[in-house]
């Protein structure tokens, strides 16, 4: 446990500067984007009023009505996509920097006393902590954006709305529901573990064999999934609730396989 905490602390320390830079940049872009959307909308109304001699009401109508909170936070989906991309890249980078970085820290990591599984868990924990941080900061930004929207835009140009409900991206992330949050984190854990498996496979085998092994592991996920879907669509053996249960059981079984494989590769196959 001590080794796990120390390694996790070290991993966080190593990436904190880069992570904070990315996070702050995303926050600045998001705040700027909401301000830009509101000011741009207002300037378009003024333009229409001046050039086409419309009343404000007519100009608003021509712009498909008042600006909703969903419209104002339109750019958030790109930021969320960027956040997801950075997380995926980081899941690769957290391993590869130890092999290809300025120093070959992977030597030290693999030689540390105790079980190698701790290395895997510390890296997994670090990425998950960063995902939680990203989710948390998104929530704060979305919460702050709503008063900003209300404050910057005159009442008659606004649509009375809740924070959620208008933007798919916001709906995906901003949830008071514990189960939804758990699902997002479980999905992140699943994707990160799969990336770890790809990296460890690539570090364990020669190019051709690594590619074949990765293709096999991906097929092990996709083929049964498609087969299940086909069976469920073609027959009515199970009711939808039971189908969900079967899908979830399959994903859990696959996750167990991926985790086991990662540990096996790290213990017996990975090479420096």
């Amino acid at each position: 446990m001590k080794k796990f905490l120390m390694l996790s602390n070290e991993e966080i320390k190593r990436s904190l500067k880069l992570y904070m830079t990315i996070l702050i940049t995303l926050v600045i872009i998001e705040i700027t984007s909401i301000m830009y959307q509101i000011l741009h909308y207002q300037s378009k109304i003024e333009d229409l009023m001046q050039k086409e001699r419309l009343t404000e009401m007519q100009a608003v109508e021509q712009l498909n009505g008042p600006l909703t909170f969903g419209d104002a936070t339109n750019y958030f989906k790109y930021m969320i996509t960027l956040g997801i991309m950075f997380t995926i890249l980081y899941a690769f980078q957290i391993w590869y920097r130890d092999w290809y970085g300025e120093s070959k820290y992977i030597y030290r990591l693999l030689m540390l006393p105790g079980k190698r599984i701790t290395i895997l868990f510390s890296k997994l924990t670090t990425v998950l902590i960063f995902v939680c941080g990203f989710l948390g900061i998104q929530w704060v930004i979305i919460l702050l954006s709503h008063p900003l929207y209300k404050w910057l835009l005159p009442d008659h140009l606004q649509v009375a709305s809740k924070i959620t409900g208008e933007s798919a991206a916001i709906n995906m992330l901003y949830t008071f529901n514990v189960i939804d949050t758990f699902v997002i984190l479980a999905l992140a854990l699943f994707v990160i573990t799969m990336i770890f498996l790809f990296v460890l496979t690539e570090r364990s085998y020669r190019k051709g064999k690594a590619l074949l092994t990765i293709a096999r592991d991906v097929a092990l996920l996709i083929v049964p999934f498609i087969a299940l879907r086909y069976v469920f669509d073609a027959t009515s053996i199970l009711v939808p609730n039971q189908q969900v249960f079967v899908y979830l059981s399959f994903i859990l079984a696959y996750f167990a396989y991926v985790s086991w494989k990662c540990i096996q590769l790290l213990n017996h196959k990975v090479s420096i």
Partner: protein
Amino acid sequence: MLEVRGLQKSYGQKKNVLNDVSFTVPLNQLTCLIGLNGEGKSTILKAIIGLIPVEAGTITIDGEKKQECITFVPDLSTMPSYMSVGEAIAYMRDYYPDWDPQVADELLGFFKLVPTDRIGNLSKGNKAKVNLLIGFAMNRPYLLLDEPLAGIDLFTKEQIAWIFSSHYMEGKGILMTTHEIAEVEHLIDRVIFLQNGTIIQEEDSEEMRELYGKSVQDRMREVYQT
């Protein structure tokens, strides 16, 4: 005694990178693994410490599997480059219960390393010194050194060579790979010649001088040129 038996290693199409490699490393001796580039010297060291998997072979110490008795000092920096020398020492102290802070302090002074210097900013010679400091302060009976003298200046080589003849070597069995044989010729007790992943000769350096009347370097020339 560190005993390596039947090490076998292939890399994909490249079969027999190590071919039934067997030898021993006694305590209180400096054993030198000699070979041309790409003969498998570093692979043997990495296999012994468990950094690369092998197809077959056993590594035992006095008949038991005790990897915790072996330290590996590679020829490149293994501590994160953002760490200072002091932080690297603290890191190792935290992870290794057998860490000897006195040896670390002594070698820090002997090598004139500055604890606040960033590892990433150190010269190759100073990185080699940090590696050696870590290796010796881990205070384990067997030390594997991979090219400790490669690419460093004369004075650093002399400092490192002094370490090999000092009290820090007492009770230790050293297995070293090097191309700089002339620098450590007088310190080598045993020589293992490696070719194409196979041990072709294993000789006591003293006997070699008496038997052939040749230095290790001359003997090496003879072995690899025939």
